[in-house]
């Protein structure tokens, strides 16, 4: 059986010669996703959850069906536990404002790892500032490992909330979320998991992970931009106040007040992104057609090839573990004496798209003393030829910058 050419499924990869290896920033979209979104507008566009006419009912059905697909995707117990948001950032802010502000007190601790993306850090800085709780950092080893001692000291009887990225967007390492969650739960803390970098690459089961809340963005798993997910355990969501108030999140409103809608709509104020949800459902179906086993194997092979190529180059240093299986497709690196913005400019001239800078994880880079890096991140649709072209381009950077080698 010949292998399916996944690149055929992506219009942008067909029309564009660019070597796109900035997938950790956002993924390309398969045709089925683009069509699902446009089909919603062409065939089913009405405001969901409001009208009683067939078109609105159809829009509602598409939207709520997407919720069921997400529920199955992350193996949540109930569709009431799936809240649609714009993205991971909004999901995490929802938890910070609606949960943390109402549950944290002076003397409590919020535990976060030093490798968090700013999206899973700034909301907790805000919550700590407002409530008087203390933000406590779990510092990792250079390869991303969190030692037993770090976990034992950092997650303790004062911990009321643990916020942890499932996969680091710089190191690519997979954090031991279940182990951390078990320890946090033993002290009665709730566990918030940022799955933005893991959801596109590995199977997630929220209950197996021990997540009380889990957030991810659609766009990184090939869905449209502007649709994201917050999973929350039903009993926690049930007693939380709404994050945003307004249309469609109410049961009844009087001059004096309002009673709020049931879950999950309590947290979905205003007109929702139903077309985006349809696109997200299509993206999940696309992933499930391929299967995470295939996705993981392909991405591991590409990552290993890139790391092997880069590790042979003098003056090039890979950030994080030496083992490709600890990178989840993410390879951040530095080149001696060349600023990452210049690296990415030179790679761009060779038609290669990478990210350069602090990757919204400044505390981690400051802690690792690297400040700025260039990051390549691979998806299953990338090819060995693309990896090789990338390595060749990196190999030539110092010469182009006048260093004569």
């Amino acid at each position: 059986m010949t292998e399916h050419d996944y690149r055929q499924d992506f219009p942008l990869l067909q029309q564009n010669q660019t070597i796109y290896i900035d997938n950790a920033a956002t993924a390309q979209k398969p045709r089925s996703v683009i069509e699902a979104e446009s089909r919603f507008y062409e065939e089913s566009n009405a405001n969901p959850l409001r009208g009683f006419y067939p078109l609105s009912l159809r829009a509602t059905e598409i939207y709520e069906n997407a919720r069921k697909i997400v529920q199955n995707f992350i193996q949540a117990d109930s569709e009431k536990e799936i809240i649609f948001t714009r993205n991971t950032t909004e999901s995490l802010n929802l938890v910070a404002y609606s949960y943390a502000l109402n549950h944290l007190h002076p003397g409590d601790e919020i535990a976060v790892t030093i490798m968090e993306h700013h999206s899973n850090l700034l909301p907790w800085q805000m919550a700590a500032h407002v409530t008087g709780a203390t933000l406590r950092y779990l510092e990792c080893e250079p390869d991303g490992t969190l030692t037993e001692q770090t976990l034992e000291e950092g997650i303790n009887e004062k911990t009321k909330l643990l916020a942890v990225g499932h996969v680091s967007n710089v190191l690519g390492c997979v954090n031991p979320v279940r182990k951390m969650a078990d320890r946090a739960h033993s002290f009665g803390a709730v566990v918030v998991v940022d799955a933005a970098q893991s959801a596109p690459h590995r199977k997630i089961c929220v209950t197996e992970l021990g997540a009380d809340f889990l957030a991810f963005s659609g766009h990184k798993l090939m869905a449209p931009m502007g649709i994201g997910v917050l999973y929350g355990r039903e009993e926690l969501l049930e007693e939380m106040p709404p994050f945003l108030t307004g249309g469609e999140m109410i049961q009844s409103v009087t001059r004096e007040g309002a009673t709020y809608a049931e879950l999950p709509h309590k947290f979905e104020a205003g007109t929702v992104n139903a077309a985006g949800a349809a696109g997200l459902a299509a993206a999940i179906q696309y992933i499930e057609t391929i299967g995470f086993e295939t996705i993981e194997a392909k991405e591991l092979a590409l990552t290993g090839r890139a790391m092997e190529g880069l590790s042979k180059l003098p003056h090039v240093h890979i950030i994080g573990s030496e083992r490709p299986e600890n990178h989840t497709g993410i390879v951040a690196f530095t080149i001696d004496q060349v600023h990452p913005h210049d690296v990415s400019e030179i790679l761009a001239a060779d038609g290669i798209d990478v990210r350069a800078g602090h990757h919204c994880a400044q505390p981690l880079l400051t802690y690792l003393k690297v400040y700025n890096t260039t990051r390549a991140s691979f998806m299953f649709y990338n090819t060995e030829e693309e990896v090789d072209a990338f390595v060749r381009s990196v190999a030539d950077v110092r010469r182009k910058m006048g260093y004569g080698e």
């Binding site: 600023h339 913005h341 210049d342 700025n372």
Partner: protein, 142 residues
């Protein structure tokens, strides 16, 4: 591709072997310039007497464009009157915006090595950091 040759010899030389990247203990104007988005960071140090830039230097970190541009700038403005330095800054900005004439670009001497930045919108801030900091520093001085 258009910017394949962008990192030309003038630029890489000023980046690798800058002439004015050092401290200036007797500076009487010192100002930091930062591009928060990309982390380019310079401290511009000037010694200005009687309206003339007697000496100048910078220290800092950042991409080759920001560092080379600041170095080239200092080579052009040292020994010049404040007004002349400001005029060159305006010319430089005009070139970066793609509005300068050939003659004007010629007047910018080595700084004209950066003229292709006008096709690279993401890097404009890097190229103008030195000049922008100079403008602020001279304003502060007056």
């Amino acid at each position: 591709m258009e910017n394949r040759s962008f990192y030309n010899e003038i630029l890489t030389e000023h980046n690798i072997r800058p002439e004015y990247k050092h401290d200036l203990p007797d500076a009487n104007i010192v100002l930091e310039g930062v591009n928060p988005n990309c982390g380019d960071d310079i401290w511009l140090k000037l010694k200005v007497e009687d309206g003339v830039i007697q000496d100048g230097a910078f220290i800092g970190d950042g991409c080759a464009i920001s560092q080379a541009s600041a170095d080239i700038m200092l080579g052009m403005i040292i020994g010049k009157k404040e007004e002349e330095a400001k005029r060159l800054g305006e010319l430089f900005l005009k070139m970066i915006q793609g509005d300068a004439t050939e003659d004007e670009i010629g007047e910018l001497e080595e700084a004209s090595a950066l003229k292709d930045i006008s096709h690279m919108p993401a890097r404009v801030k890097c190229a103008v950091l030195g000049w922008h900091t100079l403008d602020e520093a001279l304003k502060k001085h007056q």
